[in-house]
């Protein structure tokens, strides 16, 4: 098994690796050359000894620290939770330095961000800090009714946090209940079961009122149906839900990832049930939305690759080989050598192989096939070496 350092280095995209190399050079790090040498060695998976074992151990130790610091900084770019935490850390620092006015500004900024992103636990933590510092003399314009307002806000947030936590438990329970019911009776009434599960958490009245809860319920149902390979029911359920969301103008209030998952569920089930017209319609919506959404880079890559692979599949099924070829070649060029996409890259290549096979270009297929087999062999050897 690879160590955490190896796996982290392998998971880097080219861009992330470049950023990490810059990160290593900060503060005039003089050992940077050896660090980069070791990284290259890990990425290639070669056993060539560039340095002695002892030195390698030292460099690994140093790299681990650097990677941990780098991951903290990287999280700040994409993870709201970390971003709020960093604001809180700054405010704590400012309170310690007796710069209360600035500290309060940071706290309010953190509160806004946590509230916007429904991070209830962090919000509770922020309110607690605000309440504890509200007794200091430095608070700008804080009066008794404002403190009462703060306490009220905290109480309201606690209720929301409980709903969120209960809803999470309900999703998990729902998934296993649907699984069990499907194995007994594939035509059972899903809506009755959803109400029954959510009733246990007193959330049955919230399902259709809260867009986020509704979208997540739909995602759970689609996942369970997909697992049971009941693609017809999955397609019908996902499409009906999408229409309901659209009619009730919920789509703008649902997190981007949930919408993407719903669209993905609709078009994959449509492909599997040979309903290519619907699949095409929803792939087009999916592709239109993907560039509009602001999401984490890794997540974007996954959505982008799977969307294009499915579009290429659809073109192949409907006799448009050239369009499929364009899509796959674009993916092949764009994602070549991206180690963090090893599985996805395998998918791209095997789809290209299937495409060339349809064109009867067998020597090209063999070249791709050999490439894939060699990669598998090399990977197996690297893992065996540990």
């Amino acid at each position: 098994m690879n160590s955490a350092i190896d796996d982290m280095i392998l998971s880097f995209s080219r861009e992330e690796l470049r950023q990490f190399n810059y990160f290593l050079t900060r503060n005039g790090n003089t050992d940077k050359v050896n660090d980069i040498k070791l990284i290259q060695k890990m990425r290639k998976g070669t056993s060539a000894q560039l340095i002695t074992t002892n030195a390698e151990r030292q460099i690994r130790k140093r790299l681990k620290e650097q990677l941990e610091q780098f991951s903290l900084l990287d999280n700040l770019k994409y993870n709201v939770h970390s971003e709020i935490n960093s604001l809180l850390e700054v405010s704590k620092f400012l309170f310690r330095k007796n710069l209360h006015k600035h500290a309060w500004n940071y706290l309010i900024k953190a509160e806004e961000m946590a509230s916007r992103n429904q991070e209830y636990e962090q919000l509770d933590f922020i309110y607690n800090i605000q309440i504890s510092y509200s007794s200091t003399v430095y608070i700008p314009n804080m009066s008794t009714p404002e403190i009462q307002g703060l306490i009220n806000k905290r109480n309201k947030n606690l209720t929301l946090a409980k709903i969120d936590s209960d809803a999470n438990a309900a999703y998990a329970l729902l998934f296993y209940e649907i699984r069990e019911q499907l194995s007994k009776d594939p035509y059972f009434d899903i809506d009755v079961l959803i109400n029954k599960v959510f009733e246990r958490f007193s959330l049955d009245s919230k399902i259709y009122k809260s867009p986020k809860i509704y979208a997540r319920v739909v995602r759970v149902v689609c996942m369970a149906l997909h697992e049971k390979k009941d693609y017809i029911q999955q397609k019908n359920y996902a499409m009906t839900s999408y229409k309901i969301m659209s009619r009730r103008k919920m789509l703008d209030r649902i997190p981007d990832e949930l919408i993407m998952d719903l669209l993905f569920s609709i078009y994959t089930s449509a492909i599997k049930t040979k309903d290519y017209k619907i699949a095409e319609e929803f792939i087009a919506i999916y592709e239109k939305k993907i560039d509009r959404f602001k999401m984490q880079q890794d997540l974007y890559l996954n959505y982008h690759v799977t969307g294009n692979i499915n579009a290429a599949d659809l073109f192949m099924f409907t006799g448009r080989l050239d369009e499929a070829k364009n899509r796959l070649q674009m993916l092949y060029k764009r994602y070549a050598d991206q180690k963090q996409l090893a599985k996805t890259y395998f998918l791209i290549r095997i789809n290209m192989l299937a495409l060339y096979f349809k064109y009867n270009e067998f020597s090209r297929c063999i070249k791709l096939h050999n490439e894939m087999m060699q990669e598998k062999k090399r990977k197996a050897l690297t893992y065996r070496r540990g």
Partner: protein
């Protein structure tokens, strides 16, 4: 991985190298012996047997037994578009029976 290796045998057969395709099939049988002995892999096992027959016996493709084997093979599983079978084994065998291109048969299966 089993499918990827079976695809390799098909590719070499189509690229006019039946000997190497046969060699690959023997290798697959050996490597995946445990897996292929399981009931849920009987379809893959039958495919390997059919392919060996195609390679070893030139008259097999025009023989009644090929038709019978193909019927049994098709009865094992209905093709679902978007499954992991990137090269449809059923469409490929049918293309040999109907003497049409693979893609023509693939479109019939997927359409």
């Amino acid at each position: 991985m089993l499918y990827t290796e079976i695809f390799g045998a098909i590719l070499h057969y189509e690229n006019d190298d039946p000997d190497f395709a046969h060699h690959l099939l023997v290798k697959i049988k050996k490597k995946y012996a445990m897996l292929l002995s399981e009931r849920k892999f009987k379809r893959e096992r039958l495919f390997i047997t059919i392919m060996e027959k195609i390679i070893n016996d030139a008259s097999y493709l025009t023989h009644k037994s090929f038709l019978a084997d193909l019927k049994t093979f098709d009865a094992f599983r209905i093709y679902v578009p978007g499954d992991k079978e990137y090269i449809s084994l059923s469409a490929w065998l049918n293309s040999k029976l109907h003497k049409k291109t693979y893609y023509q048969l693939f479109l019939d299966t997927a359409g």
